[in-house]
């Protein structure tokens, strides 16, 4: 059918554009997933699943709107609703967290980043997510949109999340403890 052919051509063009958006967002998706889960492999699984879901749902994306926010929402929803993921990684299990941290320490600031990641995992997931989304470049109102909560809630999550993270870092420093058991 003619109409089908025309539609198909338009759709193919839209798909190509969408696909390049997906490719471009991969590094950010990985960063978001890594921060949420604290684990490289799991995060990459998450990010890939989000990509696949986004592709499947591309018809629901309105071009010109915030693609980043849209796909982050898919990823975080998937993160929260995947039962095994949620149970294993949003609960408080410092030992599991330590086992899962795979990023090797680098001389300069590496431990700091590791500690932060560990600290992030001790936060309430919604605080962790808000801090990460802020880091992703989203504005507060966009974070509110991704998380499906009012703006005031986002602000509070960010403020509290930072404060908790700070306490965690200070606590770790004071105790002089190296959670990985290596030299500090």
């Amino acid at each position: 059918m003619n109409a089908v052919t025309v539609d198909a051509a338009a759709e193919a063009a839209a798909d190509r554009a969408f696909r390049s958006d997906l490719v471009a967002i991969i590094p950010s998706l990985r960063a978001f997933a890594r921060g949420l889960s604290g684990n490289r492999d799991l995060a990459d699984d998450l990010a890939q699943e989000a990509l696949a879901k986004a592709w499947g749902a591309r018809a629901s994306y309105t071009p010109g709107t915030n693609f980043r926010a849209w796909i982050f929402r898919i990823l975080r929803n998937h993160f929260y609703t995947t039962a095994t993921v949620a149970r294993r990684f949003t609960s408080y299990d410092p030992e599991a967290v330590e086992r899962l941290l795979t990023t090797p320490a680098t001389q300069e600031g590496g431990l700091m980043v590791e500690d932060l990641q560990r600290g992030l995992l001790t936060l309430a997931p919604e605080q962790r997510e808000a801090l990460l989304l802020l880091e992703s470049g989203l504005q507060w109102n966009e974070i509110a949109d991704v998380a499906g909560v009012p703006l005031g809630t986002v602000k509070s999550r960010i403020t509290r999340g930072r404060a908790a993270l700070k306490r965690y870092m200070e606590g770790a420093a004071e105790a002089g403890l190296d959670p990985r058991g290596g030299p500090r």
Binding site: A12, D15, R30, E49, A52, R58, L116, L138, R162, K166
Partner: protein, 89 residues
């Protein structure tokens, strides 16, 4: 190591409690994020997209959606195709 992405946040209003960019927590989070972002993308990701493409080509335009997931339906099974494994070492 810093990527050329646009500088983070540009906090809309004020960043509440007067924390500024020298806040080690803020700096650390930025670094955490940018370190992952600047990693090379594992091949799996592009493979996945290629697979989606080819599946779609096989299915034809009328059956464009290889996934059953909607954006608000994150619980749907993540059937990426079973290849969503970790990057090769």
């Amino acid at each position: 190591m810093t990527s050329d992405r646009k500088p983070p946040p540009a906090p809309p209003a004020s960043r509440s409690s007067g924390r500024r960019t020298e806040d080690p927590i803020v700096m650390g989070l930025r670094r955490l994020w940018s370190e992952v972002e600047s990693e090379g993308v594992p091949d799996d990701f592009l493979d996945l997209l290629d697979q989606i493409d080819s599946r779609r080509a096989e299915a034809g335009p009328e059956d464009a959606g290889p996934e059953d997931a909607g954006p608000e339906d994150p619980a749907a099974a993540p059937e990426t195709d079973g290849r969503g494994r970790k990057p090769g070492e």
